[in-house]
Symmetry: C2
Subunit: 109 residues, 2 copies
């Protein structure tokens, strides 16, 4: 890992909304439309954050019908450190469970 790679990696996680996204992903794989609810953000804004996280190889995507399911990339060399960093952050107020309660949780069969 050289200085430029490390800079790219750290810049990718140096945003409070992307940290929230990563925090959610430690518990669940989620799609863009769920993040728009969880973060109260527009769809393009979430989409652009995911593109940055993907470019840094922090997340992986899997197409399922019309949804794209995003997951943490557990194979990343700095994954353990990321998990530790995220463990220092509080649980978000809006939970994935509350999504389910409102019928907003996406279930791909």
């Amino acid at each position: 890992m050289d200085y430029v790679n490390m800079e790219s990696y750290l810049k990718a996680i140096s945003d409070h909304n992307r940290m929230l996204i990563l925090k959610y992903l430690t518990k669940d794989s989620l799609c863009i439309c769920e993040f728009t609810e969880l973060l109260d953000m527009t769809q393009p804004a979430v989409s652009q954050h995911m593109r940055k996280l993907k470019a840094a190889e922090l997340v992986t995507e899997e197409k399922r019908g019309r949804w794209t399911i995003w997951s943490l990339n557990v194979r990343h060399g700095l994954y353990p450190m990321l998990i530790h960093l995220l463990s220092l952050l509080p649980e978000p107020e809006i939970t994935v469970e509350s999504l389910a309660a409102n019928g907003k949780k996406v279930v791909c069969e």
Copy 2:
């Protein structure tokens, strides 16, 4: 540590020049004029980087005559993680020892 604090902390280290500065500081306390040699950078550029690192409480400064000696803030809660991150980065090509060899090492008595 909330999301905004973590964002500020990560943004402070998300720069390859500041990572280099921090890497040097893991071995030695140094002053601005030494960093200008080590990083081949102008004095104001280094000074502005130190201001950012200080704002994030990553470094401490001590005035000694006309020099300001900068050190890592070992009391920072994320200091152990920082050390780990820096350990993943290669040793810089220009060393503090080479400064001394060229008579550029500052010695405050």
